[in-house]
Subunit: 395 residues, 2 copies
């Protein structure tokens, strides 16, 4: 066997994803305490319930579930999504929602429909690294917008819209990944208004909204969208089960039609079995009770992590999120988080260095800690290991 | 609500897909006899078996099935795919197979990894219209290669490779969509050799192989691949159930790694539930018996369709496939198939005009007939309607 040199497309230049992939490989080592992923707790995955739901939908609608379905999604799910999304502060019609194969697919489809190579796309900095990877594959000119502890700064956003004439703003306004920060309520309507004013689509990624442990819910940016310039991504990966790969995109009907044409060319439609499972799960009104359970579970884990962080060396700074899955940490004395990771892995603890989440000006002293996937005791042990390593490291 | 004018990307120019979508909408009308889709027969969809299999895998591995899984696919499925693909005439390692969200995703991923705008991609003409749509979204320069009744002509292929320096050859060698034609066995090794000689990836789309009703199976082009220049797409949509959205891509290990990076950015991974269902279905060795059943079912339908065609007016020409799902027809006297469709729909019969399957030089007098989705009696009735309409039409 020779070693073929394939003529890869320009969009593949410099693309590796390998740093993160290497970290995730470590997680399979036995005994590893992982703060690295964004995985739900194993206890939060209801295999008996999902099995029962799957059995039921197959008995009710098995032939249709196994046959080709419409690209626009399984009919009953579209109806239930409309109902469910009202809790996000907006009321789409069935023609304004598109079931998708995980919300990552929504990012890909929106880029496919809108982004030409070189087009400016605004993002928070740091932001979700999966989105950065997708944007890079579309050869977007990724432009950071400055945020503070209340999320993206509206004035900075307007300046960037005026200066770069971007196609998109990609934003995670609620319990952001990786920082855990939430966009203030009074910044939401202005962002929707700027989208219309400058003709920039806001792609609002909103997978953590239902994981609120304190404070009161606020409407999505989409809730302030008067003119159709906000597309909203929701997900069942953090609340029902990521392995199902089922999310939803809500947007202007004309945009949904274009995205459906794109979707037809990427996977024809999302698995009808998983769409039907989510549809029936919603129809049975299982989500509110399950959310109450996992909020309690995750709130205790977040508390354990914040308590441990309070004991870290002076100069450590960190966010105190009211929800979501992540805490964002800045190490004292400009310490290098990648160096900390190397040492931590030897002691059986993993996390993601913050540098991976920046589109530019990566801050090497930052890290992202996930708390949902480890019990409080494990969190305390893992955090103690990190604390000890930080004390030992040259500042 | 205003009507936002989104700044779509150049790749969306002229893209509609609407003609076909309109035809498929017709199929929902009650009583419609459809020769239009590529759908398995409802009788071929085993809802009780799939339910049992799903229940079993959830009881055995429910937590892992519901959690995030590796982009590279569900481990047990990769192992079983290797075993299953031996029947196609090649023996991949687990690192050389990638479970995908339907084989359409494989076309998208290969284009993403390899095709820059303007790159030449060779295709049969006519070919699968879904592939044409995906290639157009990557702004490929789609170049037809001449075929005869034994598939693509090797000499014409070599000339096109030399002249256009293409990135890809997209080919459906066995029971082609839309024509039903099969590439002769003695053309397969030469095509694999040309791929290596010119550094052109052959993307071999092979979803119909297991639906052979006569003659003896022959190896896939991938079976002759010495150098890793053939990527092979297989699907369970035509044999187990399209609604699961599960297929497989087999290729050089280095290429699979790149495609997995692309896949991470489009859907993270294929639904683990559907991967596990296919894996267990294969493990139970249910496929051979099921294939025997559906071959018998479809062979009778193909026979009914060919018998009906034999009675069509003189000058009608058509293929006589040994397998697959489609017969390709050329109407007598240069009759227009779109005009026939308009009249047929009023009488409750649908099909796809052949013109949609051409990348250029569309032949308006051609049509594609699917026989798998209608019982023989329905086929006879629908074909009689078409026959009558053809007689009435001006030649």
């Amino acid at each position: 066997m020779s070693n073929p040199q394939f003529p890869f497309a320009a969009r593949m230049d410099g693309l590796s994803g390998s740093a993160i992939r290497e970290i995730f490989k470590l997680l399979r080592l036995p005994g590893m305490i992982s703060f690295a992923g964004g995985n739900p707790a194993p206890e939060a995955l209801e295999e008996a319930v999902i099995t029962d739901v799957a059995q039921h939908v197959m008995s009710q609608d098995g032939k249709a579930i196994l046959q080709y379905g419409p690209t626009e999604g399984y009919g009953p799910l579209r109806v239930r999504l409309c109902d469910w999304l009202r809790g996000f502060g907006f009321s789409p019609t069935t023609e304004e929602v598109l079931p998708i194969t995980g919300s990552t697919q929504g990012i890909d489809l929106v880029c496919k429909a809108l982004v030409d190579p070189g087009d400016a796309v605004l993002v928070e900095n740091p932001t979700f690294l999966g989105a950065l990877q997708t944007l890079r594959l579309y050869q977007a000119n990724i432009v950071p917008v400055v945020s503070d502890e209340n999320g993206i700064i509206v004035q900075a956003l307007e300046e960037a819209m005026r200066k770069y004439r971007p196609k998109l703003l990609y934003i995670i306004p609620t319990f952001q990944n990786p920082t855990g920060v939430t966009l203030a309520e009074d910044r939401r309507a202005p962002i929707a208004a700027l989208a219309e004013k400058y003709g920039v689509l806001v792609l609002e990624d909103d997978p953590y909204r239902d994981l609120r442990y304190a404070g009161r819910p606020m409407p999505a940016i989409k809730g302030y969208d008067q003119a159709g310039w906000v597309a909203h991504l929701s997900s069942f990966s953090k609340t029902i089960a990521p392995g199902l790969r089922c999310g939803a995109l809500s947007a202007d009907e004309g945009l949904i039609r274009k995205l459906a044409i794109c979707k037809q060319s990427v996977d024809v439609h999302t698995s009808t079995l998983t769409q039907a499972v989510v549809s029936e799960y919603l129809a049975r009104r299982l989500l509110p009770g399950h959310l109450a359970d996992i909020r309690k579970l995750y709130a205790a884990r977040l508390a354990a992590m914040l308590e441990a962080l309070a004991a870290w060396p002076e100069g450590t700074r960190y966010t105190t999120p009211l929800g979501g899955l992540f805490v964002w940490v800045r190490l004292p004395g400009g310490m290098d988080a990648s160096e900390l990771l190397s040492r931590a892995v030897e002691k059986g603890v993993a996390f993601v260095p913050g540098s991976h989440f920046y589109c530019q000006d990566a801050q090497a002293d930052t890290l992202r800690l996930n708390f949902s996937n480890s019990e409080p005791d494990k969190i305390r042990r893992g955090m103690a290991v990190l604390q000890e390593l930080i004390r030992e490291m040259p500042g």
